[in-house]
C-alpha cells in the first residue's frame, strides 16, 4: 500500500509537467488580438505626400474623388476578409461588408460615383495597379508595402510613428 503511495507521489511532477505543457500549448493555440498598421499607397508622381485623416476618409468613401492635380482618384480595396479591410470597415466605413457593398451600389445608382472601387487580392497586386495608374490609391499592411509606390503620411505621421492614425486591433472573433 505504502509502495503504491510512493509511486503515485513520484508521478506528480510528471503530471504537473504534462499539465503545464498542455496549458502552454493551449495558450499558443488560442487566437490573440493583434495590432495592424496600414499604409496608404499612391503613384510616385502623385503630388500629395501627406493627407489628413478626414481627407483620407473622404477619399476612401469617395466623397472626394479628385486629387489636387485634377486626376480622378481610383480606389483599389482589399477583400472583406483581409486585415486591411477589417480595419477600414471599423475605422473608416463603420459598417459591415454587406452594407458597404450596398453603400457602393447606392452611390453608383444615385450618380454620385461613376464606378465602384475595384478589389485586389494581394499587396503586390495593389502595387502593380498603383504603380502604373497616376490617380490610383490603395491601402496595404505597413509591412507589405510593394515597390514603385509612394507611401503617404497621415497628419504628418509616418506608419511607424506612435500617433499614426490608420491602425487597429483585429479581435480573435473577427479574425479570418
Amino acid at each position: 500500500m505504502g509502495g503504491t503511495d510512493v509511486r503515485s507521489l513520484s508521478l506528480l511532477p510528471l503530471l504537473a509537467l504534462a499539465l503545464s505543457f498542455g496549458v502552454a500549448r493551449a495558450e499558443e493555440e488560442a487566437p490573440k488580438a493583434r495590432s495592424v498598421v496600414l499604409a496608404v499607397i499612391v503613384h510616385p508622381k502623385n503630388p500629395v505626400s501627406d493627407i489628413s485623416f478626414s481627407e483620407l476618409r473622404a477619399m476612401l468613401k469617395l466623397e472626394r474623388q479628385f486629387w489636387p492635380n485634377g486626376r480622378r482618384a481610383v480606389l483599389y480595396l482589399r477583400p472583406s476578409e483581409t486585415d486591411e479591410s477589417q480595419v477600414l470597415l471599423d475605422r473608416i466605413y463603420k459598417m459591415t461588408p454587406e452594407k458597404l457593398q450596398k453603400y457602393w451600389v447606392g452611390k453608383l445608382f444615385s450618380g454620385e460615383i461613376p464606378a465602384k472601387p475595384s478589389y485586389v487580392p494581394t499587396a503586390e497586386a495593389a502595387g502593380s495597379r498603383v504603380s502604373v495608374q497616376e490617380g490610383a490609391l490603395s491601402i496595404v499592411l505597413a509591412g507589405e508595402v510593394p515597390k514603385d509606390v509612394k507611401v503617404l503620411t497621415i497628419d504628418k505621421k509616418k506608419v511607424d510613428d506612435k500617433e499614426y492614425a490608420l491602425s487597429g486591433v483585429i479581435e480573435p472573433a473577427s479574425a479570418p
Binding site: 479628385f66 459591415t96 450596398k102 447606392g106 450618380g111 494581394t122 503586390e124 490617380g135
Partner: protein, 417 residues
C-alpha cells in the same frame, strides 16, 4: 559471358554519370551573364502576369457578388445592374373593378453607367413595367434617366439630360431600384408622376452641382434648369416643353462629421405650369413653388428618414392660391444580421379644388401607417412582408367627398444583380 557483360555494361553508364556530375556544377557556377539577365527578366514578367491575373480574377469575383457587372476596356469602365421585383397583396376594400387579392409584377430596371476617362460619365435607367388600364394590363418601356455629365472636379459638374431632381431625398437615393428601398412601396410624397405622386420626380434639363468638403463635413449643392411640368401632374415633359418658362430648382445638403450617418438638406423649386386653352379653369398658367427639407440618419442598426414638402399653386385663372403639404417619418432597425423591422407614418394634406391636381383626384387627403419586416435572402435579394392601414378621401361622380378606411397586406421579393 553473362558475368563479363554484367561487368562491362555499367562502365559507360558510370562514365556518363561522372561526366554529368562534374559538368553540372561547372555550368551552374559560371552561367553566361545574358542568361542570368534573361532569366531575371522572365521571372519578373511571370510574377507580374501572375499578379495581374490574380487581380483580375479577384476583382471579377468580388464584383460579381450579385451587385452589378463591371467591365473595363481601355479608358472605359462600364457597369450594368438589373433590378427587379414581384409580389402579391391583399387590400380591403379593393381598388375599383379589381379583386381584393392579386399577384403583381413590379418591374425590371436596367441600369447602366460608363465612365470614360477621368471626367466624362454617362448614365441610363430604363424600366420595363406594367400599366393598368380599364380593360387590360400593358407592359411598357420607360426611359427614366439618361444623362451625360462632365465632372470638372469635386466642386463642379455639368449634366445634361433626363434625371431625378433633389425634390425628394427618397427619390434621389433609390430612384427605381426597389431592392434599395427598405419598404415595399414609396412614401406618398415620393411616388412617381404616373403612380399618384404630387411632386415632379423627373427633370429634363441642365444640372450644375458639386461638393465642398469643410472641416465640419461635406456640403453638396445642385442647381437645375429644366422643362418643368406639363399641363397634367402626370406629364414630366421628358422630350419637349409646352412653354418657354423653365423650371428652376436649387438644393443644398450637409452631412455633419459630428454626427456620423446624418444628412440634412433643403430645396426650393419654381415652375410656371402651362395653360390649357381647352379647359375653362386652366386658361392661364399656374405658378408652382415647392419648398422642402429632409433629415436622413443611417448608422449602425438604425435607419431614419424624415421628409416634408410644401407646395403652393398660384392659379392665375381663378386668382386663388392652393397650399398642399406632405411628409413622412420612417424608422428601421436591423434586428439581426439579415432582419430589419420598420415602420412609417405617412400623410398628404391637400387643399381641395386645385385645378392642377383635381382632374387626377390628387387634391384629396390621405394618411397611412406601415409596419413590416425585411429579410435579406442573399446579399442581392430581399423579402419584404408588411401590413399597412390608413384612410383616403374619395370623390364620387357628383363631386361629394367621402373617407375610406383601408387595410393592406403585402409581400414582395426584390433583387439586383
Amino acid at each position: 559471358m553473362k558475368s563479363v557483360l554484367r561487368g562491362v555494361l555499367p562502365a559507360p553508364l558510370l562514365a556518363l554519370l561522372l561526366l554529368a556530375a562534374f559538368a553540372r556544377p561547372a555550368a551552374a557556377e559560371d552561367p553566361p551573364e545574358d542568361w542570368k539577365k534573361q532569366n531575371e527578366e522572365l521571372e519578373g514578367r511571370v510574377r507580374s502576369l501572375e499578379d495581374e491575373r490574380a487581380a483580375r480574377t479577384s476583382a471579377d469575383e468580388e464584383e460579381s457578388l450579385g451587385l452589378g457587372i463591371v467591365l473595363t476596356r481601355g479608358k472605359v469602365r462600364g457597369t450594368l445592374q438589373i433590378f427587379g421585383d414581384v409580389g402579391a397583396q391583399w387590400q380591403n376594400p379593393g381598388n375599383p373593378d379589381r379583386g381584393e387579392t392579386s399577384f403583381f409584377l413590379g418591374g425590371v430596371n436596367i441600369f447602366g453607367t460608363a465612365q470614360v476617362g477621368d471626367h466624362f460619365h454617362v448614365l441610363s435607367e430604363t424600366v420595363i413595367k406594367t400599366r393598368e388600364d380599364s380593360s387590360s394590363d400593358r407592359v411598357i418601356f420607360d426611359q427614366e434617366r439618361l444623362s451625360a455629365a462632365w465632372i470638372f472636379n469635386d466642386h463642379l459638374y455639368v449634366k445634361l439630360g433626363l434625371d431625378h431632381g433633389p425634390v425628394s431625398r427618397w427619390n434621389h437615393l433609390f430612384h427605381h431600384g426597389r431592392w434599395l428601398e427598405t419598404t415595399i412601396d414609396r412614401p406618398l410624397l415620393a411616388r412617381f408622376e404616373t403612380s399618384g405622386g404630387i411632386l415632379p420626380m423627373h427633370n429634363t434639363g441642365l444640372e450644375l452641382g458639386g461638393r465642398h468638403l469643410t472641416d465640419c463635413g461635406p456640403i453638396n449643392y445642385v442647381f437645375i434648369v429644366s422643362n418643368g411640368r406639363g399641363r397634367s401632374a402626370e406629364d414630366p415633359q421628358k422630350i419637349s416643353d409646352r412653354n418657354d418658362d423653365k423650371a428652376l430648382e436649387l438644393g443644398i445638403g450637409f452631412a455633419p462629421r459630428a454626427i456620423e450617418g446624418l444628412h440634412v438638406g433643403i430645396h426650393v423649386r419654381y415652375d410656371e405650369l402651362p395653360s390649357d386653352s381647352s379647359v375653362a379653369a386652366r386658361m392661364r398658367p399656374i405658378v408652382q413653388i415647392i419648398l422642402g427639407g429632409h433629415a436622413e440618419y443611417r448608422t449602425g442598426p438604425w435607419e431614419l428618414f424624415l421628409e416634408f414638402v410644401l407646395i403652393e399653386n398660384d392659379d392665375r385663372t381663378s386668382g386663388s392660391t392652393f397650399s398642399h403639404t406632405s411628409g413622412y417619418l420612417q424608422a428601421a432597425y436591423h434586428v439581426r444580421e439579415r432582419w430589419t423591422a420598420y415602420t412609417r407614418l405617412d400623410f398628404r394634406q391637400m387643399e381641395a379644388g386645385d385645378p392642377y391636381f383635381m382632374p387626377l383626384g390628387r387634391d384629396l387627403d390621405r394618411w397611412e401607417i406601415v409596419l413590416g419586416v425585411r429579410h435579406e435572402l442573399t446579399n442581392n435579394a430581399a423579402l419584404k412582408i408588411e401590413v399597412s392601414f390608413g384612410e383616403f378621401e374619395q370623390r364620387a361622380t357628383g363631386g361629394a367627398v367621402s373617407d375610406v378606411w383601408y387595410t393592406r397586406f403585402g409581400i414582395q421579393v426584390s433583387w439586383v444583380f
